[in-house]
């Protein structure tokens, strides 16, 4: 499943870049974070709860920055599992400076779900994955545009 979008973020590009590439900041936009464990600047582990309605899973995600071209481009691989299920999300973010205070972020995410959730929830997954992905990026915009970092 591929999702993409373009965000106009009212924040300077450097600030957007540091937010996106800082595990402690960017994970504040992940759904329902249970724990975060940063092993090195390029790798971290985050446990999140995500789902739709009563279908909710705890996903233990290993996240890795695959590409970092400061301050223009980042690619992130997040791979994790819930019981009997696995999820993988490869996200690409391209930042361009609209002006000093505005950044345009083009993002895309390729989400693969395998196992139980895929089998039992296939008919619901497209919608759920879309929603979770949209929320993630919408949250990034909101946080960056807040006058004080939330």
């Amino acid at each position: 499943m591929r999702f993409e979008g373009t965000l106009d973020i009212a924040a300077p590009r450097d600030r957007v870049w540091s937010f996106l590439t800082d595990p402690t900041q960017v994970t504040t936009c992940a759904p329902d974070v249970q724990s975060l464990d940063v092993s090195d600047p390029h790798h971290f582990k985050v446990v999140v709860r995500a789902g739709v309605g009563p279908i909710k899973g705890t996903f233990s995600m290993n996240v890795q920055f695959l590409e970092l071209e400061r301050p223009k481009h980042a690619a992130v691989l997040a791979r994790g599992q819930a019981p009997g299920s696995a999820v993988q999300m490869v996200s690409n973010m391209d930042l361009s400076e609209f002006d000093d205070t505005h950044t345009v972020m083009e993002w895309s995410s390729e989400v693969t779900v395998s196992g139980m959730i895929q089998q039992v929830g296939a008919r619901l997954m497209q919608g759920a994955a879309d929603k979770i992905t949209q929320q993630l990026f919408a949250c990034i915009k909101t946080k960056l545009e807040a006058s004080v970092p939330i």
Binding site: V47, G57, F59, S60
Partner: protein, 179 residues
């Protein structure tokens, strides 16, 4: 991931004593609240006549009467049955006399491997209690929540028709009452 053992809340309980009357006999057993009724019957009470054939509420092998209605006991928690009556295949035979449904399944070759049979018979008994003279279509509709892989259903339909005839012929043929 971690086992999702939800945090204990102050308002609920993880274990509970349930009182259930099964085939007329009262039982009181403390169980985990997540115990499924079918496991309660099979594991806690040792009544293994009720079978498990799937995990998605499709096959009906676990059908029992809960307060007189046929339900899939894999999709009911034992705690929900607290204070209720349950009837299982073990209770169909009364005082050494087979229920007409049991007789019908034997006479009309309504079973082969026998695994779906208890659930199928319970559903049939409930149907006949509600409708002593069902049409073939009504029988097929009534058992459409019970899967059989051996018989092709034709003889199951005949078995239930046999039981219906038999019940009508036998004055005072007693319907299963769930307890």
């Amino acid at each position: 991931m971690a086992v999702e053992t939800a945090p204990a809340t102050t308002t609920g309980t993880r274990r509970m004593k349930v009182h259930v009357t099964v085939n007329g006999q009262a039982h009181e057993v403390e169980v985990e609240t997540r115990t499924l009724l079918v496991h309660f019957l099979r594991e806690n009470l040792g009544m293994t006549g009720t079978h498990i054939g799937c995990d998605t509420t499709n096959c009906g092998a676990c059908t029992v009467l809960l307060n007189g209605r046929p339900v899939k006991s894999c999709t009911v928690f034992a705690v929900q049955a607290d204070g209720m009556s349950v009837a299982t295949v073990e209770g169909l035979e009364k005082d050494g006399k087979l229920d007409p449904v049991q007789e019908g399944f034997h006479e009309e070759h309504g079973l082969q491997c026998g695994f779906c049979t208890p659930g199928m018979m319970i559903t049939a008994a409930a149907l006949l209690a509600a409708n002593p003279d069902p049409s073939e279509l009504q029988i097929r509709q009534a058992i459409s929540g019970n899967l059989c892989r051996c018989t092709g259903y034709v003889n199951i339909v005949k078995s239930i028709q046999y039981a219906a005839r038999k019940t009508r012929e036998t004055a005072g043929g007693k319907a299963p009452d769930g307890g």
